[in-house]
Symmetry: C2
């Protein structure tokens, strides 16, 4: 039985962090909600809303792996990492990888809130003024803090600055690739300036993008294009480079 | 060597989820930043900002356990859970417990943003208007969704509705206690109404509060009182019960 990935069918969103891991590790999976008919989105909604689901997920993405039904993006990656060689085997290495993943998740939450600072249930247009303020702060303070942090982690890695953890790629590297890709889509003007200070992070992004299975995935129809329904949205009015050097 | 917990010394904040686990499992620890002199807050800041820290945490809390330096609240609990019997031993049980913890972490992030919807670096007073809108949505939509979710998890637990996972308490139960305690502090009027629909969650809160080590901890000076520097803040103007039944 291949794994079943359950996620909204028209966006990259948080599901994309799982897709990248599945693709890179060459794991067979079905992207359930993108299948046609009742085996598609309705099948996901049955697991999400079904009253007979003993361990219900709070929200997509979730992964069905045999009898396991695993929710929360970072938790899914924790599982895939240990099962499929996408994380170190040692306890110390597993915890460090997961710690980095949870920090990426925090950054992703903040990116979401640049366009939805008031309510995820309201349209962007209904919170545009607040979004301008929040996005300006994100670009001026938060994005440099997060990217600078990962730059530092790479620079201090005793096994070299190619990957976040040790000398081999982990799911955290795949996720950092996605964070950079998403920030470039959402905030191209701001990122052009920010990137100048994050040489190692950008090199990691290129390194991941060039991995054969990732490159094939990105060129395929399985990679949903970024769009303004997802987490990383391009609204030109929010993409204003911070004043000053960075 | 006792564990070292590193967290801001004047608030419960995210560190409290770790403190509750350490206290309940009767684990020896030093709450570093609350110690006097240079072994206190400066010691925490050296680990946070020191250029020689090979695996730097992004933010407090972090835990030093021998050679390990573990950051991210949920990650620390993952570690403590497996080392100290605060989570099931099976892979399925560990993942489910962690999934619930990450959902609690999401709820906590949203609570933080009720008073800081624009920028964590600005004062509440500089984002009060936006906070009113965000808090109103949190009370009307998000708090009932999260609490209703955990109510459902308890109701569906095949081993009984006393705990979230199986028949014994886990770190996720301790954290759900803290979420409820914090919401009661921050939003007493709104919670009085919301609680009517969450009988099992409230019973779990009482059950955890009555655990002997937790009760002793809550009565001690080690438990920092809630205050308006932490995550759960009581601003009366944000505590407006939603219109309608819930």
């Amino acid at each position: 039985m291949p794994y079943e990935l359950h996620y909204w069918p028209s966006i990259q969103g948080r599901g994309e962090f799982v897709r990248l891991a599945l693709e890179d590790a060459d794991i067979a999976y079905v992207d359930v909600a993108r299948q046609p008919g009742t085996k598609g989105l309705p099948a996901m909604l049955r697991l999400l809303d079904g009253k007979d689901v003993v361990q219900p997920p709070f929200a997509p993405p979730f992964l069905r792996a045999g009898k396991l039904l695993i929710g929360q993006t970072a938790n899914i990656l924790l599982f895939l990492g240990s099962r499929h060689g996408l994380a170190p085997r040692t306890e110390a290495g597993r915890l460090w990888t997961h710690q980095l993943q949870l920090t990426i998740a925090d950054a992703v939450n903040e990116v979401h809130d640049t366009h939805h600072p008031i309510a995820s249930g309201l349209y962007y247009e209904d919170q545009r003024q607040e979004a301008r303020r929040r996005a300006a702060d994100f670009i001026a303070s938060r994005a440099p803090k997060y990217l600078g942090y990962f730059e530092q982690v790479l620079a201090r890695n005793p096994r070299g600055d190619k990957y976040l953890v040790g000398a081999r790629p982990t799911y955290a590297d795949l996720s950092l690739f996605q964070l950079v890709a998403g920030l470039r889509y959402a905030f191209p003007r701001a990122m052009a300036r920010l990137e100048q200070h994050q040489r190692l992070v950008i090199a990691l992004h290129e390194r991941v993008a060039a991995r054969p299975r990732i490159a094939a995935y990105l060129a395929s129809e399985r990679r949903i294009p970024f769009n303004e329904e997802g987490i990383f949205r391009h609204y030109p009015e929010l993409d204003r480079p911070a004043a000053g050097g960075r």
